[in-house]
């Protein structure tokens, strides 16, 4: 990495600062994942890393390579856009899976399904709490 000497000090410092903030936020998010107690609280924590955490790393990357290569490097913007568009899919999948399991097991801490109330002709069988015998 001999090119590093060509980078002005203020750019290097700013890049380092952004990288540290991004990495720090991601670390705090992972710490929260470890620390929170319930599943639903836990999936909040990593979103720090997937929003501003990755955002700061991308800003650092854009700044550094724009200066290093003396041209505008902005293709990191695509990463941001694709992250924003794709993370809801994973989160919804996880959230709904957890909700489905909690309702099937009859845990009280989740709200009941709306579908049973709305359309009486398409009754979704409610969880009775009967567990199938262990195999």
């Amino acid at each position: 990495m001999t090119h590093l000497a060509e980078v002005p000090a203020w750019v290097a410092l700013l890049t380092a600062l952004f990288l540290l903030i991004g990495a720090g936020l991601t670390l705090i998010g992972s710490f929260g994942l470890l620390r929170f107690d319930t599943f639903y609280a836990r999936i909040h924590a990593p979103t720090l890393g997937s929003t501003l955490g990755v955002g700061f790393v991308l800003i650092a990357s854009m700044l550094f390579f724009t200066v290093l290569e003396s041209r505008l490097v902005i293709h990191e913007v695509l990463i941001t856009a694709l992250m924003i568009v794709t993370t809801p899919i994973t989160l919804m999948l996880l959230g709904r899976a957890a909700l489905y399991r909690d309702r099937t097991e009859g845990n009280d801490d989740v709200p009941p399904s709306q579908a049973t109330v709305v359309k009486p002709d398409v009754v979704i069988p409610e969880a009775t709490g009967d567990q199938p015998p262990p195999a």
């Binding site: 705090i28 710490f31 929170f36 909040h44 979103t47 929003t51 490097v73 924003i84 809801p88 909700l99």
Partner: protein
């Protein structure tokens, strides 16, 4: 024009993505990217996507900045909750929010906004009753959250997409 290129905005976006990835704008690149984008959109038609368009670009841009500010603020809020020593005492919970918005693209955008804002997760959407179920990490006042989602995001999204 419509038959040949059914989703002009999407086609233009794909071309832009192609050019950004190539990091150059040359006649050859534009031609190849353009042909690929048109083909890709034609393939998308096989999935029969619902009709929709962006009506008010100005509102959309304003909303994007509003969301960016909210993302920064809630990142700070969630980081504070995690680092606070008594973080076990916070009250997390579910909120059921009735929606007036029906546009599938508006709903998708709302899902992205809610997910991108730490502290709120979209858990379930009921397409019969038109309600969304959110899980909120720091649930102090249920009404406040309903007003935030409906007044801050849904109203603007409806202006953009409906």
């Amino acid at each position: 024009m419509r038959r040949w290129m059914p989703f002009p905005v999407l086609t233009a976006t794909l071309l832009a993505v192609w050019l950004i990835l190539n990091e150059s704008v040359t006649p050859g690149g534009v031609l190849l990217g353009g042909v690929l984008s048109v083909i890709a959109v034609r393939m998308l038609l096989a999935l029969d996507p619902p009709k929709g368009r962006i009506r008010r670009v100005q509102v959309a841009v304003k909303l994007a900045f509003l969301v960016l500010a909210d993302i920064i603020r809630s990142n700070r809020a969630v980081a504070t909750i995690i680092l606070r020593p008594d973080s076990g005492k916070r009250t997390a919970g579910f909120v059921l929010i009735p929606l007036d918005m029906r546009s599938p693209y508006g709903l998708a955008a709302l899902a992205c906004i809610i997910t991108a804002t730490p502290g709120t997760i979209w858990v379930e959407y009921d397409s019969v009753k038109h309600t969304i179920l959110l899980h909120i990490l720091d649930l102090v006042e249920e009404e406040v959250w309903i007003d935030t989602i409906k007044g801050r995001y849904e109203k603007r999204l409806m202006e953009v997409f409906e």
